[in-house]
Assembly symmetry: C2
Homo-oligomer: 186 residues x 2
């Protein structure tokens, strides 16, 4: 039955619909867009994407608008798909990120020597600093008006930049805290 909705919080669905609002595309095309623009916010594998397109088509949220050489199927978003995307964007509250491997490790840093714990935190600071450098580079190479994705993409880039700054500062602070605690004990 086409009335069957699949679960609410599933974002690959919306990522796919979102990319299709920029024009019809094949699974192959979309896969590249996922790699180019969404790699850092919502990665998708080939396997997953082809499956998803099948489900979206069955649900009437996309259609096969054209077929090309090599079995190419060009998908286009339908009005229903568009409505679903806007509904998700405007009315469904985003689920906060619940898991952080980085922080999980922090909880158990007491199992290591203070030196090793500091090393861990210093590494976090270094990695964050490196990421910052990359992002600043990226910011200069992004064409300010290369399509609508870039407009809001800039906001996402700024988020990542601010995040990595925060992470670096925190890790530096935390390493220092560990150092202070160590001295306090001696």
């Amino acid at each position: 039955m086409s009335m069957m909705n699949y679960a609410a919080g599933v974002s690959l669905k919306h990522a796919t619909l979102g990319l299709l609002t920029y024009g019809p595309a094949s699974g192959y095309d979309l896969l590249q867009k996922f790699r180019e623009s969404l790699a850092n916010v919502w990665p998708a594998t080939q396997s997953q994407l082809y499956g998803e397109l099948g489900k979206l088509a069955a649900a009437g949220l996309v259609t096969v608008a054209a077929e090309g050489p090599r079995g190419r199927k060009e998908y286009a978003i339908t009005p229903e798909g568009s409505a679903e995307l806007r509904h998700w964007l405007g009315e469904v509250p985003p689920a906060p990120n619940r898991r952080s491997e980085m922080l999980l490790r922090v909880f158990f840093l007491g199992m290591l020597t203070p030196e090793q714990a500091r090393e861990y935190l210093d590494d976090r600071a270094t990695v964050a600093a490196e990421l910052q450098a990359e992002l600043r580079e990226l910011a200069t190479t992004v064409d300010p008006d290369s399509g609508p994705l870039a407009v809001y993409g800039r906001l996402a880039l700024e988020w990542a930049l601010r995040f990595s700054v925060m992470q670096e500062e925190w890790a530096t602070w935390a390493a220092d805290e560990v150092r202070r605690a160590q001295e306090g004990v001696e």
Copy 2:
């Protein structure tokens, strides 16, 4: 075979081992510790945890140290488990978070009206501000020397605080950017 390792990046395993370093505990006990202290960094369901304990026991990383009433099984970490935890903490680089539903939405904010887009960003700022308030509250109620988990737990709390500050500032800035872009077009 006890030589069989399961996959490398699986953190429920390490979260469980980590909690067991604070002393033997049953699945039931651990579940509460997951809810009390790890809810915001690595949540686990009952179903998952009992399964995991079985696998850890089969792999020799934990053992059933004692059995109590109501079929209670008290698990204890083994030297092998301890070694595995330390190896993970010290030598395996943490996997960065790849997915952010919040940012995914930002990429498609162009599908909404600028007013709706700003509303989304303003909501992010509000939610972040509320989280901050909760965290500051929490910070005052946490006993400074209530066990070793609290020591490094403080670092995690500080991370969350800085994160929510960053998020609020970013969202406010981004909403303003949208406003400016809108005015620029008019």
